[in-house]
Symmetry: C2
Subunit: 374 residues, 2 copies
Amino acid sequence: MANPCKQKRFVSHGGDVWGFARKYNIPLEKVLDFSGPINFLGPAPKAVEAVQQRAKLIRFYPDPNPVELRMEIAEYVGHGVDAANIILGNGSIELIYMVTEPFPCGFKAVIPVPSFTEYEKAALRVGGEPIFVKLPDNFALDVESVKKAVTEDTRIVSICNPHSPSGTLYSRETVLDLVEFCRKKNVIVSVDENYIEFAEKGQDNTIVGYVKKYENLFVIRSVTKFYGMPGIRFGYGIATESLIDTLQTVRQPWSINSLAGYATLAAFKDTEFIENTKRTIAKERVRFAEMLSEIGGLHVFPSVTNFLLVKILIKKITATILKEKLAKERILIRDCSTFMGLDDRYFRVTVRSFEENLVLVEALKKTINIANEK
Amino acid sequence: MANPCKQKRFVSHGGDVWGFARKYNIPLEKVLDFSGPINFLGPAPKAVEAVQQRAKLIRFYPDPNPVELRMEIAEYVGHGVDAANIILGNGSIELIYMVTEPFPCGFKAVIPVPSFTEYEKAALRVGGEPIFVKLPDNFALDVESVKKAVTEDTRIVSICNPHSPSGTLYSRETVLDLVEFCRKKNVIVSVDENYIEFAEKGQDNTIVGYVKKYENLFVIRSVTKFYGMPGIRFGYGIATESLIDTLQTVRQPWSINSLAGYATLAAFKDTEFIENTKRTIAKERVRFAEMLSEIGGLHVFPSVTNFLLVKILIKKITATILKEKLAKERILIRDCSTFMGLDDRYFRVTVRSFEENLVLVEALKKTINIANEK
């Protein structure tokens, strides 16, 4: 019965705070979660209010043609984007899956790695083959090596900007170079900008302003990370009108619940939350990186986002060991050994409050010192 | 770029109250919606309370492995079903799509019609071919004609019990006969039981008790219709453990928002709402059918659900004309001419309060009398 051209496999994610709480038998709220790259200040309070005030709207199907919502999102995105350039999705994952659905069985998806594991699953689930291109050690986007991986069967190149799990911001010129090249080959470039709002230079480097010019460009965003509301399930894709129209025919008619749009618009207008997030994350990211570096034996990669990728330089400690040790103190970190292109020398931590970051740093120090003494 | 083995097309639905309100420039709440087959008493008040109380939970990803939730759903379903037999979905549509995803390109999906249009789309979007079998004029499930349509390439037969759009309940023996036949052919029978809770004899005829015996049986349910909450997006599939495990690998990791599970469990415990729904719908369905029959020129089909299928016996009136005329009085009905296997002689109305049903009846009388006088 199984389709031989379709391979399925589970992929692992950060942020399984539910599984962690269950395993260690502690309440969800008591987990110190550095694993899911979610804004620790969230959810945006105005989004929560909107959900409470609009709760009775669950009696209606979601609006199948939310014209006003798409207009307001376009306005939020800016850079000349119109409502017709917007498609909605159940978080960014529905969009990541949606864009590969029209491709023929056996297509190739070029994925610079390490990266978000769902790009791979999106290809596998519809009979595509992921082609991995290893990024250089500093995680810069080496466009030339990506170009070399593009063949006749390639239908999509999936990148993430700012890059996850490293937190590196790619320049608009770099991304445009790739998009321009791929247009000639009739290959879609999917640019996941889920973390762009955290980046001080995000607005200068977002590629959204080019969706009208490049019909092979698909930009993915969501309210999951910056607005701290992964549970509302709301994302949006930005592309040329004809690509949006094609994707509209593939998607489920009502995949987004009736409250998510209202929560999103309320969040977009929550200027106090937005300003506080930008200020706090920028400040705490610097302090957190300094504290981590001072422990010794760790290399912290520069990041423009709300998370930090850390390489363990001490031979006898792995990310898997660290994760286990920290779990005993209710701390959850992201072991990066499950990322294609990384190994058990890497872990990722989300920037939280100064006090919480300090708790992690102290726990790390203790674990590393014990290991060094052995 | 398009996959030649995948066809896409838009399908039309009842219940686009948003589009109706927009077209006639009236507030959503002012539409007298007889179109979407949703419990007019909904949403279950305890579900709304749960959403309001748990709103802050949008800060967490949905639980990727909701053990307790699946257990409580299994308990609600009864008939010996276990948590391991339950898979969750974004409304019933994600489940309808999910079950066809593992099938090979070119598979055939047998669909007795008229029926819910998404069964057809579920086949088309993954390269399958729908094979329609016309139900007899009374919409009984003619199992022999369905059996004849099953060929070597058939992978699924999709039925709905109680049947939509007619409201007919099929006996368990009839459905079992089909399931037994299909097991030998290695064909899945998908039984959509979205309306079963409205039926007085629903518990006697549900097929859920057989999921452990028949590995080719997939039962679909949701809280959309009976609990009056289409906007929360929550459904569940019931099947043998191995089929559930296969489907788990295909699905999106977080398609259901963080609040939907809580809303559902609260709704299941809202006994006052449940009792009131059963009592009111049963009573008003009878009165509504009588009033409609008394108008003259209409045949009302017997129904066990919260909707009534009506055939227009007057030649000069079509469902499309009726829908347009009624729209001027803010009344929305379901023109059934877009259902495969029906034509413009049929429309469907949802049972609402006595007063609201009376408004529709009076408006229908007026429209039919004017037509008769011409």
